[in-house]
């Protein structure tokens, strides 16, 4: 299992989509491709934009389908970050159709 600190990579206001893309390509997808689990740790992150979260996880969900959410976990998210992640996860699944 790999733990990724979002604070270390994107700061307390996580809004840089280029950083999100790098995390997705370099840290998340290689682990999920191996069938390993990833923990995205939002400890210390005050806010994240929907664009950041979309760039972070939407393509992972598209590539790995529903199992992406079995292998990815989101740690220490405040209420707002939690809701933004849920919005992105929901609309991706709505768009992809039933599992």
């Amino acid at each position: 299992m790999k733990r990724i600190s979002i604070l270390e990579k994107a700061g307390a206001f996580a809004e840089n989509k280029d950083v999100a893309r790098d995390i997705r390509l370099q840290d998340i997808l290689p682990e999920l491709d191996k069938g390993s689990e990833v923990v995205l740790d939002f400890e210390g992150v005050d806010a994240a934009t929907q664009s950041f979260v979309h760039a972070l996880i939407s393509d992972v969900m598209r590539k790995h389908g529903g199992s992406a959410l079995d292998l990815m976990a989101f740690k220490s998210c405040n209420e707002e970050v939690r809701k933004i992640i849920s919005i992105v996860a929901d609309y991706m699944q709505e768009g992809m159709g039933p599992p």
């Binding site: 893309r21 664009s51 768009g95």
Partner: protein, 319 residues
């Protein structure tokens, strides 16, 4: 080009200012202003700076400003951004807590640095700072990623003590909303394109539901939703189209996926703005909890996606 800074131009009454813009002869810019008093929204300053960014300073003519409040233009960095001298003298103040002068953002990293500097400048409560930061980040990233704006995004913001609000303006001279949306969706007019761009899940990057790996088509919908829930103004002007979200009269406004179902005004035959200009007002007293806003945004977003997906279902043929 000719542009006149009127006595008053805020989002509620910005239409005459826009109608007075003359985009002909784009190789020069002449700026005139009301002689008595100037009270303007940051979107006006951002637009002036964006126009100036396309020209050499020697091609910009700014008529002598007589208005008593002309020092405001200096303080907000207008002449500095245009690269032209000004004979207006002011006592410089630290901007902390009051305004963000005209700033140009061209790259993703520049924006991240700007965000880190901007939020402390506004001296806001953490929740309010998050809302403002959210809006600025999404708007500026739109320019960086979609506008093909050689001169970047020109943005500024001002805190208004009397109304306890932050007003934000951002403008670019890129390809405009119609060109970007038309890459994936049919939009006959600038107003059609603006309408699509404000809907959740509609992006010029793809027709596919859920967007691309980098774009969902949700940024403008989120911002319009923040303004709508807070009963604030939000305006977007691109090409010859202007959409303006008006203050809702309802105490608990319902979010709408289609901006034309919101309380709004629109115009489709304005002087052509090559690029996009956006203005937003955020009243801090009534800034709804961002968390409850997200619940409403999530529900509206899911419903809009579900409806679009359903609209594409094949229907059984009954013979």
């Amino acid at each position: 080009m000719k542009i006149h800074i009127p006595n008053s131009a805020f989002l509620g009454n910005i239409d005459p200012f826009i109608r007075g813009f003359d985009p002909s002869s784009p190789e020069t810019l002449e700026i005139t202003a009301n002689d008595k008093w100037i009270a303007i929204h940051p979107i006006v300053l951002s637009m002036l700076a964006a126009l100036g960014s396309t020209l050499r300073p020697e091609d910009i003519l700014c008529r002598k400003l007589e208005a008593k409040s002309r020092h405001y233009l200096v303080r907000m960095g207008l002449f500095k951004s245009l690269g032209i001298p000004s004979d207006i003298s002011i006592v410089e103040h630290e901007p902390a807590g009051r305004f963000i002068p005209i700033t140009r953002v061209r790259t993703s990293d520049e924006l991240s640095r700007f965000m880190a500097e901007m939020i402390p400048l506004l001296h806001l409560e953490p929740g309010q700072a998050r809302t403002i930061g959210y809006i600025v980040s999404e708007l500026a990233r739109n320019v960086i990623e979609h506008a093909e704006a050689e001169h970047g995004a020109l943005l500024c913001a001002q805190y208004y003590k009397k109304s306890n609000s932050i007003r934000i303006g951002i403008a670019d001279t890129g390809v405009g909303v119609k060109a970007t949306i038309s890459r994936s969706h049919a939009a006959e007019t600038d107003l059609d394109a603006i309408r699509l761009a404000l809907q959740p899940g509609i992006t010029g990057a793809t027709r596919r539901e859920g967007g691309t790996e980098q774009n969902a088509g949700a940024g403008l919908f989120f911002i319009k939703s923040i303004a709508s829930v807070n009963r604030d103004f939000f305006a977007i002007y691109s090409g010859s189209g202007l959409f303006k979200l008006l203050k809702s009269t309802s105490l608990k406004p319902r979010l709408k996926a289609d901006p034309f179902e919101d309380r709004h005004s629109k115009e489709g035959d304005l002087p052509f703005w090559r690029g996009t200009a956006v203005g937003a007002d955020i009243t801090l007293d009534q800034t709804a909890e961002f968390s409850s806003l997200l619940d409403a945004v999530g529900n509206t977003y899911r419903a809009a996606v579900r409806e679009r997906v359903k609209a594409r279902y094949k229907r059984p043929r009954f013979l």
